[in-house]
Subunit: 449 residues, 2 copies
């Protein structure tokens, strides 16, 4: 496929102070980003000037489970804005950029989720997207009256039904239901409202939704599950999938696998964009990039490093080891880490790495790959992944904010545009338009045509 | 009490196209207000220029139950923005005005509600308020997997526990928990975070909340229940109470009753503002006000009028009666209508009113009182209620938007200011400051002092 057949999709993942575990220690980072609205207004408008397709927020319904010593040194996954209220605010101060956030299907009700994303879609003029997760943090259960998190199979079973109900609710009103005709005094056509009457295994929801059909018909559906369940679910429903592959080969395998699963659900591969997370440290020169990277790395506290490494390994307890020890022998992990533990253990053996070597390599970006170097190096690697069938674009994960995103906008984006890989301006009004997706027809329209 | 002891509190209740049932038929109303963000930006900024203490949104988790013929002619209680996402957006385009919306305790989880209002409080710099309701629309149950709405006693029992949990979650982090000290590398002080560990009849919630303690400590608690349960709940927890008394005498009775109940909960009467709904049609002259009123009244469709009258009477079926018939004999209603049915039936008998006479009198403002007339008449009546112990201010309910609010801002507010009854500017930064309320201490602080 030649470069010009399609655009690279680029999103930016706002992880409060940034994605690097030591981000908040950078003197130019916004340390109180989690509750600083002025900061979010500024970086959202900057992202829009950079022509990113969308802004993304993760979400968790609990404080992260971690040792007190490590957690109290972290700005991430503790306490900060709730993303739907925050995206409402961001919608008011931006015009073109897509607005995606996470809501779990495990500790929510479909009526609330359908309403809030439809509402955000109206406020933003068609820019909303919903990242469907089943909750990665088991502590969420305890905040919702449950003693234990659902096992994966049940989570995805519930998620599938949840998404079906939400989509059904989004179709409650036909696009042209609200005539608002002062002449006849008719506000809406009662033949164009539909009661869902869903009665399923997990949910009973009558409807109709008390929000009209959204500008995009359905807000864009995003997903990030990596297990077999996660991939099937994505093949069936997702329009954007986030992934965190360890290298290009793994990314190509995932890409082919997932796109290959779509046909069985009657979908074409174009209807889904696969976007790996991308951590970039870029400089005008290699040396400049190295210096930026080393500065952040030098700020990682040993306890934080060890704790993140243990999380990346799937919850291994490393507290009794010295950071200069080699990685201890570990049993094989289950599928949950998506091959990450195996990859890390093999790397450590191959290169004879200590615990500290490992966490320095992995902790900064929480186990996700980092590309570091000159503009050319970064753009080359992005281009290679894109043209070699490893992805449809990336979700960039700035190390600290605003600095790392500014670097990307100032240095990398112009180079991608010069190469004809990335849009010079937004092409349409809605997120769907900008992703090249069709506006979904209502299920009621499909039935009558 | 002299006028100058305290300020009249004034809020504005944004009911989409407006409060009059025919509001959307007014040629200057915004007919698609329910999904028109530009409209809300404009009227919110106008309300702030008018120095209203706050904006208020009701909320319902279902389309209103009504006959198709009446509902399809109504712009209200059908389909429109979700208020928390909308207030997020409004927070971004306003600076001083309070932002209050409704969330029911019957079909929600405390963790979600605590988070969203705390987040809104941060986005707005301390301007959030939560209107706690137990759901007036029984159809909500069907959208949340229940066949029947909770009976009132259970609703309030759940509500009491819900609010306790939310307040507990709001105190999860001490005000000074987040030190964000780059020197020591400590982001928060682990001694200043508290796990709620609530285990009650309706909820088990561990905490801590993943939002820091809000600028106001606790967003302002608002309530609108009128039953005995509702009043006790308000006496115990509310800081603002909305009421819809039929006349000044009833308002005085309610005011004395509710303020009198506060002592048993260790609260002083100053800690609660009682605000009746206020429908105003004002003109430079009486004739101008009459003309405005008659225009809207002339737009009420008989089916809409009958249906609203039947709702005001507590669900009486009037479909078999002609609009020129007198009101049929009705059995006494239960406490639910707060005496409204009795009041209406007596008025109809006394004045020999037909169904049409009655709905014209009541339907426009959905059974709530309307003051119509010159600036002097309106200001006099407001002043009388305020100084005679009937209220602490009002929640104004513009008949149509933006017109009726503009009239109130241009004509009534300057007169109230001239009389020394209403603020000429905001006095503080937060909604709490502007209402003259103290910032609540954390329950953990109280324990240690
Ligand atoms: C970029 C990215 C963002 C994610 N965001 C969230 C999130 O916000 N909340 C969450 O609970 N899980 C999040 N996850 C985790 C996934 O939803 C998923 O649970 C995890 O990848 C494990 O896959 P599985 O659910 O198929 O086992 C994210 C994963 C990735 C790669
Ligand atoms: C000004 C005002 C606003 C109200 N807003 C709502 C609302 O948004 N949602 C709701 O379910 N009920 C709302 N109500 C209804 C009350 O919450 C309450 O259910 C009703 O007054 C009956 O009282 P009770 O619950 O004590 O029986 C409102 C009432 C008033 C007077």
């Amino acid at each position: 496929m030649s470069r010009t057949d399609r655009d690279m999709v680029l999103g930016v993942f706002f992880n409060y102070t940034g994605h690097h575990v030591a981000s908040w220690l950078h003197p130019e980072a916004c340390a109180d980003a989690g509750v600083n609205w002025a900061h979010f207004k500024e970086i959202s408008q900057a992202a829009e000037r950079g022509k990113f397709h969308f802004i993304f927020f993760a979400d968790w319904l609990a404080v992260r489970l971690a040792s007190e010593a490590a957690l109290s040194r972290s700005s991430q996954y503790t306490a900060h804005f709730e993303p739907l209220t925050l995206l409402g605010a961001i919608a008011a101060v931006t015009e073109r950029i897509g607005l995606i956030c996470t809501a779990t299907t495990s500790y929510n009700e479909p009526y609330h989720v359908a309403r809030k994303f439809a509402s955000l879609d109206f406020i933003s003029g068609g820019r909303a997207g919903w990242n469907v997760v089943t909750s990665a943090n088991p502590a969420e259960a305890w905040n919702f009256g449950k003693e234990k998190h659902y096992v994966r199979e049940d989570r995805y079973d519930r998620a599938r039904e949840f998404v079906e109900v939400v989509k059904g609710l989004w179709d409650s009103w036909d696009d042209d239901a609200f005539v608002r005709d002062r002449e006849s005094g008719i506000y809406f056509d009662p033949g164009k409202v539909h009661t869902l009457d869903h009665k399923g295994k997990h949910f009973s929801v009558r409807g109709p939704l008390n929000v009209p059909r959204a500008p995009q018909g359905h807000p864009v559906i995003v997903q990030a599950g990596a297990s077999e369940f996660g991939k099937d679910f994505a093949a069936q429903t997702a329009e954007i999938v986030f992934v965190a592959p360890p290298d290009m080969k793994a990314a190509q395998g995932f890409y082919a696998d997932l796109k290959g699963r779509m046909a069985q659900y009657g979908r074409s591969p174009d209807e889904l964009k696969i976007l790996p997370g991308l951590n970039v440290i870029v400089g005008e020169t290699e040396a400049e990039a190295d210096a930026k990277y080393d500065f952040l790395q030098s700020r990682i506290h040993p306890q934080v490093g060890k704790e993140i490494l243990s999380t990346i390994l799937g919850g291994v307890d490393l507290s009794s080891y010295d950071i200069d020890d080699p990685l201890p022998e570990l049993p094989d992990s289950d599928e949950a880490q998506g091959g990450t533990r195996k990859f890390v253990v093999e790397m450590a053996k191959r290169e004879n790495l200590t615990i500290k070597d490992l966490y320095l390599r992995l902790a900064g970006a929480r186990g996700k790959r980092t590309i570091k170097g000159s503009v050319k190096r970064v753009a080359d690697e992005m281009e290679e992944w894109f043209v070699e069938g490893a992805c449809d674009g990336f979700i960039t994960q700035p190390a600290y904010l605003p600095g790392s995103m500014d670097d990307f906008i100032d240095l990398v984006i112009p180079e991608l545009q010069r190469r004809g890989l990335f849009q010079r301006d937004y092409r349409g009004a809605t997120l769907r338009d900008n992703l090249g997706f069709k506006r979904p027809k209502s299920r009621w329209q499909e039935k009558t045509t």
